[in-house]
Amino acid sequence: MLTLQILVNGLVLGGLYACIAAGFSLVWGVLNVINLLHGSFIVLGSYFALFAYQSIGLHPFLAILAAAPLFFALGAVVQATLVNRVITAPVLLTLTLTFGLDLMLNNAMLVAFTADYRKLTLDPPLGVLSLGPVTVPLDRLVAMGLALALTVMLFLVLSRSRVGRAIVAVRMDREAAALMGVDVHRIYAITFGIGALMAGAAGALLAIIFPISPIASTSYLGKAFVVCVLGGLGSVPGAMVGGLALGVVESFGALAFGPEHASTLSFGLLILMLVVRPTGLMGRKGYD
Amino acid sequence: MTALLQLREVGRNFGGLRALSNVSLEVQQGEILGLIGPNGAGKTTLVNVVTGVHAASSGTIHFDGGEITRLKPFQAARRGIARTFQIVQPFPEMTVIENVAAAALFAGAARGIAQARADAFEHLRFVELGAIADRPARSLTLAMRKRLELAKGLAMKPRLLLLDEVNAGLNPAEIDLALGLIRRIAASGVTILIIEHLMKVVLNLCTRIAVLHHGELIKVGSADDVVNDAAVVEAYLGKRYAAQGART
């Protein structure tokens, strides 16, 4: 019935939201930096996929593999050269810095690509999947699957690899990690790079679902915020829970209030969470 | 004579952890009460509960005849309870005298910033920091910061002063200086509760000693009573010998 369809829609959307937010949440949790560039990175990833598809026919699902190292490098360089200089400064300065950087990137994209919305339409299209009363567009479903896979991979990297454990250590206690021999600044650059990578990859996936324009960057950023607050900072499982929760809430909210109020609803939720339970649905930092 | 501070069956939980349980304690006016116990016994938690930083999970606290169990820190401060922090908490970018003037202005009796500064200077002279009144607080050494904490506490014109490890990190000469200051403060009529690890300080300074262990008060009494108490010795195995050494 309808409720089930709405729920499935919400979960599919939520999986994408989780991917959008996972990298953002990691950077916030580890570096204590809110990367206002994140939304623009996502849009950049979408453009990357768009042009790769249009020029050399590279399928967006494969474009992720190409985008990953490029965006990782971009993120790492930005962090090492710019963000790192204000890493110990008050919250206000880091926020203002990333805001300024985002203005620059966004303006550059506007000049290069114009504000016109573009669409990456797959040729041939993937069609829909029907399971009983529920229909899901296949492209969304696959995108969501890949987004979740990416998020799970991030989780595995954080929990199994040496670099991942170092990142978690820095997030838990920067000074202790440094005393244990972790090169904290290198970890910062790597983490920021991972954040950019996740953004670029998410953007490539989103390119086949949502219209692409530099104007969209603020709405992606807004979603990332809400997911972080819902799910708790620096935690990948938190991003997943938060993403899915947001997707479902928006889906039902769109039914109740109309789709144009979706973002207001999510922002209202954000304020409510911040006031009532700032540590997120998962409670105290969910160290993974 | 009713006690200045009365804790009745005070408890404080942090989630599942019982930091304080069933603590009943009285602090008499004019005395110097030592609060000792192994690390993690709940000493700082007790001070936090009295000053309102943490709310008591159970029990009541009365000060100077009135109940203060539910008061917020700034309210407790205005009632005449001052405390120093184990890890000193100055206002780093403000000068030494501004730090003390703040205390005089907001909790002490000073009317207006000018009078607060004048009062502050007196308190700084008392702790022998008068010469560096205009230095930024962050430039002070640890010993000086501890004295600054003390000056701030005094500027609040407290009836009760709670000292939390005011001697941690000081060398013997600095400790003697601090001891002298604390005695003079007590002589001026301020009741003191002092958390201390150094038995030398506790035995030389305190009229009575209270011992906390795992959040429970296991003994309250004179120095002799406490040092010879079996439960205290058990909690504190090595200290008995240090105590015997210090008293000779």
Partner: protein, 315 residues
Amino acid sequence: MTSRTRQIVIALAVAAVLAALPLWGSSYWMRLGTFMLMYGVLAMSWNFIGGMTGYPSFASAAFFGLGAYAGAIAQKHGVPIALAWLWAGLLAAAFASLMGAALLRLRGHYFAIASLVVAEVLRELANAATDLTGGGMGLNLPVPQLASVEAQARFFFYAMLALAALNFAAMLWVMHAKLGFGLRCIQQNEAAADMLGINTTAYKTAAFVLSAVFVGSAGAIYASWVHYIEPPDVFDVLYSVKPIVMVLLGGAGSVFGPLVGAAVFLALEELVWRNYLTIHSGVLGLLIVLLVLFLPKGLLSLSSRLGRRLGPSSS
């Protein structure tokens, strides 16, 4: 207090120069002057909560937009213009004290984000409440009946000047009063301030309300001045970010810093707009980046570094 007297004298001199602007300036300069004064109000107001108390507020756009719509709607219902401006300021203040109860318990990033989001929510509400606000189609205001275009320009210039003067007076008073001292203590170490007997909740709320009241009126004056407003215009996030950049530019916590910052920022913005229209936001971004990286304590800190004195302070 000689430093306070000195500050008052300087301020009066500046005000006199500004008040004389309409006599020698063209309407272009008056328009710039009005904007500069408006920016000055935004910057000085932010200074209460951001500079003095240390809470990175991004709520300016919320107060500005709220004031703009409050003043506009009042005027449409026949309220005299000056009263509408007053009403806008009071409404913004009331809103701030309500919001403050929820928001001021948050710190750092969380406070910043929440304050930013409030403007977004208000924007959406303004968009949705079409009957009241005209929704996405915007709101037209009655144009004041004055002799000429120049007279109108002068009217709004003096209105902003008066508001800026009030704002400055408030800031000066706070900085030298117990409130200012308390706010500085909170900014340095809130827990210690609490233990010293400062009612931090009351003080923070006072700062937040002060950061809203003048901005609300400024929004209303702006609305009357341009006589057409719509949600994305008056709730623009840049109205939250620009004051911060201005205060960073001029130097936080000092009496003249916000005004200096506002003036310099406006000058730069005008230069960039006239010469680099398509990339003006990018250039603004670059400016912000350079400012944060190389001049985090603002321009006035340059002069004090040259003079080898300690940084500007109220005492």
